[in-house]
């Protein structure tokens, strides 16, 4: 087969069943990596130790660990509380052998939105992550006053200026927000720590409420939705700027949670094949990429 599965991974949130079943389905479909949620580990019947063992024994590499939320922009006791939560997340992430923690931009009204302050909090988080060898991927969220899109998240990451702080790019959000491709081209490839891919079935999203419900219930795998061309163009754009990191399918779909994990994993496999063979062609030699790297 021409394509390289190593570039793609699944998210446990796409699958029903125990952690072991999910990991087996992902492995069985040919994937080499998995995106985990903290609850996969702490919710394991044999506690975090059991969760860690299941992941280790699966042989899957952990793409990233989800997700620290509402961390930045808080003061006083709230800040101290969130730092404690962050430390717990970092230790879990480290315990499962993962080197990437996803951090979603806060949507709390209590949070200060001053970019300098937000950058300073993220700098602190990145510093906490350094001894554990963890990178922080900051992800914009619709409705966040600190970072509602890629451009504002990128600005904050730039202000914070930490080597282990970068961006998580969610293609779903980019599709919904109709993020201009210029915004993506403005990013340095080394600034993007992970790319999450998913599509949805409707042609447009009409309200924030619809956005929220679609994001959490109705995502589908790349190639299955209504925006395959846009998604393909986005992936090609990322490839063009030199992004060489992981792609993870962040498909949150309630229907898929009522289907056997194996058949959902097969859909993911079809998505990876579509991307690998018709969009990305990463398995082929890429002399252009090397030239690009040299010209930087």
């Amino acid at each position: 087969m021409a394509m390289n599965f190593a570039d793609f991974g699944m998210d446990t949130a796409s699958l029903a069943g125990t952690l072991e079943c999910k990991l087996a389905a992902i492995r069985g479909a040919g994937f080499g990596q998995v995106m985990l949620a903290a609850n996969d580990i702490v919710g394991h019947p044999a506690s975090a130790t059991g969760g860690n063992r299941a992941v280790r024994e699966s042989g899957l590499r952990v793409t990233g660990f989800e997700a620290l939320r509402d961390f930045e922009g808080l003061g006083g006791k709230l800040h101290a509380y969130k730092v404690a939560v962050a430390k717990s997340m970092l230790e879990l992430c480290h315990g499962v052998g993962c080197d990437l923690l996803l951090v979603e931009a806060t949507t709390l009204k209590h949070a200060h939105a001053d970019p300098e302050r937000v950058a300073s909090d993220l700098r602190k988080l990145a510093m906490l992550a350094i001894p554990l060898g963890i990178r922080i991927a900051f992800k914009p969220r619709e409705g966040s006053r600190t970072a509602h899109d890629l451009a504002s998240a990128s600005d904050i990451v730039f202000r914070a200026a930490c080597p282990n702080l970068g961006l998580a790019l969610d293609a779903f959000d980019a599709l919904v927000a109709q993020t201009p491709h210029d915004d993506i081209e403005a990013l340095a490839p080394q600034q993007i720590f992970v790319v999450q891919l998913s599509d949805f079935m409707w042609h447009e999203i009409r309200s924030p409420a619809e956005h929220a419900s679609t994001a959490t219930h109705f995502r589908v795998f790349p190639g299955e939705g209504a925006h395959s061309d846009e998604l393909a163009a986005l992936v090609r754009r990322l490839d063009k700027i030199g992004y060489a990191g992981d792609f993870s399918f962040d498909v949150y779909n309630h229907d898929y949670l009522q289907m056997p994990a194996e058949s959902v994993a097969d859909r993911a496999r079809a998505a990876a094949e579509w991307l690998g063979e018709t969009v990305l062609r990463r398995a082929l030699p890429v002399p252009n990429l090397e030239r690009l790297a040299q010209s930087r």
Binding site: R123, A126, M127, L128, I130, P131, G133, P163, N164
Partner: protein, 296 residues
């Protein structure tokens, strides 16, 4: 031009915590006598014992080495095993509590207070791997050892140094692509400055050198060599560098005391430096030509 302006715009932060050298370096081992014998061959003398723990203080000239055989009492610190490892270093600062609080604000991990009754609480943060970094501000009129340690009777508490040996630095092994992270850690929390590749000391010119704000102490960060294999190395403090104004004289004197030096084609003693053979499963010392013994 830009660089000069940038430097000017930086407020007085070149030595934000009043960094004033290294108070001690700590090894952890379950066989303290074996390490003690090696340290004595290297010119150190045992001068004091901890009042309540299995901890000894060795000294020569301006250098203090702590040998810690106490079982680990908090998570993420070194559990003493036969093979000695560098488990901590202590930085002399203007105000230990201030330096500690400042480090926590920046995102350092504190370790729980471990002082017992009548003992000093020496604040510490987690460093690389399982190692700790202590902040010490009692080193002028009286010292931490006056309180927590009992002197060993009839022993000269201030044995002079062999061949002017003084502390030069510590070599830290780090993971792939981790140099920038550790530069961030040491520069932001302690005020270290990365040196240009042109500045080299000793005979092991690899990796990146960081200079302490007091300019008396160096950290050398070394990533794995390309093609060193896929086995991930745990990041750790690897060896202590000792400065001496006359490397050949120091080598001769230490050889007389029974220390052997590496004498291979690639690595052998010369005017710039020397490397001892590994002892006790991996403990080695590096000699580096250096005129300036720190004060005291």
């Amino acid at each position: 031009m830009d660089e000069a302006m940038e430097r000017e715009s930086v407020p007085e932060t070149s030595n934000p915590i009043g960094f004033d050298g290294i108070e001690f370096i700590e090894f952890a081992t379950s066989r303290p006598q074996a390490l003690g014998s090696l340290l004595e061959m290297m010119g150190f003398r045992p001068v004091a014992r901890h009042r309540s723990r299995e901890v000894e203080l060795y000294r020569q000239g301006t250098m203090n080495i702590i040998v810690n055989a106490q079982p680990a009492d908090v998570p993420r610190i070194v559990e003493p095993v036969e093979r000695p490892v560098i488990s901590a270093f202590a930085i002399r600062v203007r105000d230990a509590d201030y330096a500690f609080r400042r480090a926590l604000d920046l995102g350092a991990w504190e370790i729980p207070v471990r002082a017992r009754a009548m003992e000093l609480n020496i604040p510490a943060i987690h460093g690389v791997g399982e190692s700790l970094v202590y902040f010490v501000d009692r080193y002028d009129e009286f010292s931490i050892y006056d309180i927590d340690f009992r002197p060993i009777p009839t022993v000269d508490p201030h044995p002079s140094a062999v061949a002017g040996l003084h502390l030069f630095g510590i070599v830290q092994y780090i993971g792939v692509d981790r140099t920038a992270d550790w530069v961030e850690f040491y520069s932001r929390i302690f005020g270290f400055t990365p040196l240009s590749d042109q500045v080299r000391f000793g005979i092991m010119p690899k990796g990146l050198l960081l200079q302490s704000p007091c300019r008396n102490f160096y950290l050398q960060l070394i990533e794995p060599e390309a093609g060193a294999g896929d086995i991930p190395l745990e990041e750790h403090l690897h060896r202590v560098g000792l400065g001496t104004p006359d490397v050949r004289d120091a080598v001769a004197q230490l050889e007389k005391r029974g220390i052997e030096f590496v004498a291979s084609q690639a690595v052998h003693a010369n005017d710039r430096g020397a490397l001892t053979k590994p002892y006790l499963g991996g403990v080695m010392f590096e000699l580096v030509h250096s005129d300036s013994a720190p004060k005291r």
